[in-house]
């Protein structure tokens, strides 16, 4: 299911707490990858919180690492 890039979803997003969310992503204000698409930063997969995210609950998301795979479809 597509995730709208809205302020409401951004407020629910927990990307910033994710162990994979790194300094480059923070410096570039990147998050809500399931709506906005993959990250432009280099990163290591240190675990994925997409499965625990309220946005994931609302939109029944099933994938991992939207920061890598791009937006939910």
């Amino acid at each position: 299911m597509k995730v709208p890039d809205t302020k409401e979803n951004l407020m629910k997003c927990i990307c910033m707490k994710c162990p994979t969310h790194n300094k480059c992503m923070k410096d570039n204000m990147q998050g809500l990858f399931c709506a906005r698409g993959k990250s432009s930063c280099d990163f290591s997969k240190n675990g994925c919180l997409c499965g625990e995210c309220p946005v994931g609950t609302d939109y029944k998301l099933k994938e991992y690492y939207y920061c890598e795979v791009g937006p939910a479809k």
Binding site: P19, N46, Y65
Partner: protein, 364 residues
């Protein structure tokens, strides 16, 4: 404190039962199993417990802690919860006939991460005498969703819960062992009577199946499987069946937690540890959030299930819950000779890396 039992407990349990600390001072105790009573020692082994970061410890009959095997991880773990710190040494089971201990863990090779199963042999139940890798080379990840519970079935085969490795295509990929329950002989070879010839796969379509136990009354394996942001489930596993992930976590489920609670260990009451009316009841640990202080809106509980003879859930209710202020939560669950034992991964002190506990629930 008397005989190693601590009267204080940060857990509130159903009326008619009590929770006592059985042993403390453990470092991230994950799963527990009971040692076969086949050794002639003054202070024989009682419980085997695996610590997430690579040790297998023995709790003896006299409540002494000994190291059976140590430093099984070939990398340095980092205590990151949630995240890469959640992975390591997870599954443990003991063959009650031979005394062999089987553990599941991840390892690094050439910068990549893989799953494996080790058979630890012991001559006295207290120390390892030989290590034999019986399965390895399965891709994994340093996070949850790795190789999980191990059980030995009534057919004397080893059953292995394998997480999807955070690759959502793996559970339906027949060339990938991830997202499956595997069945193998105790030496790691493929049995002749597996559902798919010359393959380890017993059932497929799982996501993150942490816990497992066998139900004597129907001869089936039951598994807890963690969903994404919705739909955790309990499953009665049948040979050759597809349990649906990633299309759905509801396929074949006997119970769904639509609001996820992170089910971990599961155990059937199949002895005389609890009163007769609890016979064949299923107890399921709900871990909750990966690291959270105090009472939370998710997990830190044990739920009691009543099933009918076909495995359909007739009712369920709260059996135990956390009332303390620490990061404690329930991971492993197993019935011992005198009660239900559970491991508490983090314990009460968030600054202490050796604050993990094993508790025992008995009738009061």
């Amino acid at each position: 404190m008397k005989n190693g039992y601590d009267d204080f407990s940060p857990w509130r349990v159903k009326k008619g039962f009590k929770v006592e600390k059985f042993i403390g001072g453990l470092s991230l105790p994950v799963n527990i199993c009971f040692a076969p009573q086949i050794y002639k020692n003054d202070d024989p082994s009682f419980i085997y417990v695996n610590e997430l970061y690579g040790n297998v410890k023995v709790i003896t009959k006299n409540n002494n802690i000994k190291i059976l095997a140590e430093n099984l991880l070939n990398y340095k773990p980092n205590y990151q919860f949630p995240g890469t710190g959640e992975s390591g040494l997870i599954g443990i089971t003991a063959d009650q006939k031979s005394g062999d201990i089987f553990v599941s863990l991840i390892y690094e090779k050439n910068g990549m991460v893989f799953n494996k199963v080790i058979n630890i042999k012991t001559e006295d139940g207290l120390s390892a005498s030989k290590y034999e890798t019986i399965m390895d080379g399965i891709s994994s990840i340093k996070a949850a969703h790795q190789i999980q519970a191990l059980t030995i079935g009534p057919d004397n085969k080893l059953y292995v819960n394998l997480g999807d490795g955070m690759e959502s295509k793996s559970p339906q990929n027949d060339n990938d062992l991830r997202g499956k329950v595997l069945r193998m002989n105790l030496d790691g070879s493929i049995p002749d009577d597996n559902p798919w010839p010359n393959r380890y796969v017993y059932a497929k379509g799982f996501r993150n199946p942490f816990g497992a136990d066998w139900r004597n009354s129907d001869g089936h394996l039951y598994v807890s499987d963690n969903g994404p942001a919705f739909d955790d489930r309990l499953v009665k596993v049948e040979a050759g069946k597809n349990y649906g992930w990633p299309k759905s976590m509801r396929t074949g489920a006997i119970h769904i937690w639509e609001r996820t609670e992170a089910p971990t260990g599961i155990a059937f009451m199949q002895g005389n540890q609890f009163p007769n009316e609890y016979s064949d009841h299923l107890f399921v640990a709900l871990f909750g959030k990966a690291w959270h202080l105090g009472i939370t809106d998710k997990g830190k509980k044990i739920i009691e299930f009543i099933l009918d003879s076909n495995g359909k859930v007739l009712s369920h209710g709260l059996f135990m819950e956390y009332i303390g202020e620490g990061p404690a939560s329930v991971a492993g669950l197993a019935f011992g000779p005198d009660g239900l034992y559970f491991s508490d991964l983090h314990g009460e002190d968030p600054k202490n890396k050796h604050a993990g506990n094993i508790y025992r629930i008995t009738t009061s």
